[in-house]
Symmetry: C2
Subunit: 338 residues, 2 copies
């Protein structure tokens, strides 16, 4: 197996709607999360602020899991800036059309044409990095991502809001439904997928779709490493005529087992190549920050589940992955950042 | 062999000194060259301006050779922006400290600390991309590069000006010597290598050195794909205590055979792992733009020589590389850009 991974970050101002996303210390604070996630993933420490992305409740970013798995497996990887609000102070891939998305409850996500430009740029990136590799794993970090993903899915004719999960155990479905409903009022019947993304989407999901298509065009397997948001990526791929039955969907067991969302329905709707969940379980973890994952917090993000599935397929058993995660947890705690 | 390649672009305002560099249509025009080179290399066409980088005499950028060899070999690659004057309108790796260099005849190249920051960022990049690869090839595009490289080498105690070549058959050595002499007046005795680069260097060579060290730290072979400028990269590597006898130096036969410069002396001074030159010869080419290479024009750039050497080591003979270059030449001519 010759894998390579990219982790696509971006912001949507939708995440600043109070109560929508807990992927940050405050509604406005969610705008820092992709920046800090990708700096930490790349450098081992965030740079823009001296904090590991976490919530007031002590919830850690799933990037901790991702980084631990990457250090264990030595899979090559790069962060991609599709439109972070605060940039990335670490080496990363820059897409020329990168820009953050607006609050879709209030106005169009991006200027007309942005989604198509991002898609084509990401497709080029996918082609370039796929050479010499047989698998391209694509993760994401975008607070508010399930809401914009639901809007994209709904606009594409699916039950997006019904499908999507939340980083909170109390999935704020009513609020999501309100936001999506406002957003959809801007989408006209029969819009093409790029118009939909410009109107009610964000920069991240369309970038992931572009990388996936580029990878498939070079003969590599495209793996979407994420939760229910991946339904939006699949909808974009279907919208451009790509064969979603060749795309893999790898996530966490917390998403597979989540009763407030339905990733299996998404996998079926797009007839994906395979739906897999990581086996790693933190029920017996000595660290409260990790045991919280078993109570429905966080669930997925920054490709955590998919990166663990990849480790498993590369021959690393769940115990060794867990050890790597514990070591990384302790490293951060000792740095005083976690 | 599991290679990956990066092509590092940046500008130095030194290239705008009249008569110093022919790597552009005019002294000011040289500032566009890295931008157009890397857009073309990545997308197959430049984007910022609708022209293939070339000189008034119809000299083509060596990026044409590089792209043809990459399309033939399917080696994965990425452009890196270390400080282009006009940015790169294609997916590329961005280093946070990227910035163009000032004219070293007049003022310090970069604010103090920039060289070290770029080096560390590039080192991280080198580590990340080397995973899963056994060879990292590193090319460059920086008009005026031989002059700033000579200044770095001289400041590091070598005969830089004596060693370096030129993209012109008439190597303007006197002018280079004047520029280097002015630059060196700003370097104090016993300066460390990063202070030297900040004072009389540029963003590109130090970035190449960082990628090379990162690659070696991950166990990959670092290949410097360039001409005599690579002496500056080797000087920086030696300056940080790296073992240059583990670094490969691959270039063109035009550089190996150039009587105005001395790449063999550079290879010896740093005891490099191997010095190799591509065998491809355009003497019998039907295209004047390529035959000019045999008359001492261009000689090297954008990793052209090293990428051809890599193709050869991957089992592609000189004939197939030449065919690929001819096809690419015709493609560009038919687009009306060449």
């Amino acid at each position: 197996m010759r894998p390579i991974a990219v982790y696509v970050g971006g912001s949507t101002l939708t995440s600043t709607i109070p109560g929508l996303s807990i992927a940050g210390p405050s509604p406005e604070g969610t705008l820092y999360t992709p920046t800090l996630d990708l700096e930490y993933l790349t450098l081992g420490l965030p740079r823009t602020m001296n904090v590991i992305p976490m919530t007031p409740d002590g919830l850690l970013t799933p990037a901790l899991i991702t980084r631990a798995a990457l250090e264990l497996t030595k899979v090559p990887y790069l962060a991609v800036d599709a439109g972070t609000y605060y940039g990335i102070k670490a080496p990363h891939v820059r897409l020329p059309s990168a820009r953050y998305g607006e609050n879709i409850a209030e106005r169009p996500a991006m200027p007309r044409g942005t989604a198509r430009s991002l898609f084509e740029e990401a497709r080029t990136l996918g082609r370039l990095i796929s050479r010499g590799h047989d698998l391209v794993l694509i993760g994401e970090t975008i607070p508010g991502g399930t809401t914009v993903a639901a809007a994209i899915m709904n606009a594409a004719g699916l039950d997006g809001v019904g499908y999507v999960s939340s980083a909170s155990p109390n999935n704020p479905k009513d609020l999501k439904r309100q936001v999506v409903s406002k957003a959809l009022s801007r989408v006209s019947e029969g819009s093409d997928i790029f118009s939909i993304v410009d109107a009610v989407g964000d920069p991240v999901h369309v970038t992931m779709a572009g990388v996936a298509l580029g990878a498939m065009e070079e003969g590599a397997t495209a793996v979407l490493a994420g939760g229910t948001q991946m339904g939006a990526v699949l909808a974009i791929l279907r919208g451009v005529g790509a064969d979603t039955s060749k795309v893999s969907l790898w996530t966490t067991k917390w998403i597979l087992n989540d009763e407030t969302s339905n990733i299996r329905a998404i996998a079926e709707a797009f007839d994906v190549r395979d739906l897999e969940g990581s086996e790693v379980d933190f029920a017996d973890s000595p660290f409260e920050g990790l045991r919280m994952f078993e109570r429905g917090f966080v669930k997925e993000g920054v490709g955590a589940g998919g990166t663990m599935v990849l480790a498993s397929k590369m021959g690393f058993d769940a115990g060794s992955v867990k050890s790597a995660i514990y070591s990384e947890y302790k490293r951060l705690r000792n740095l005083g950042s976690a």
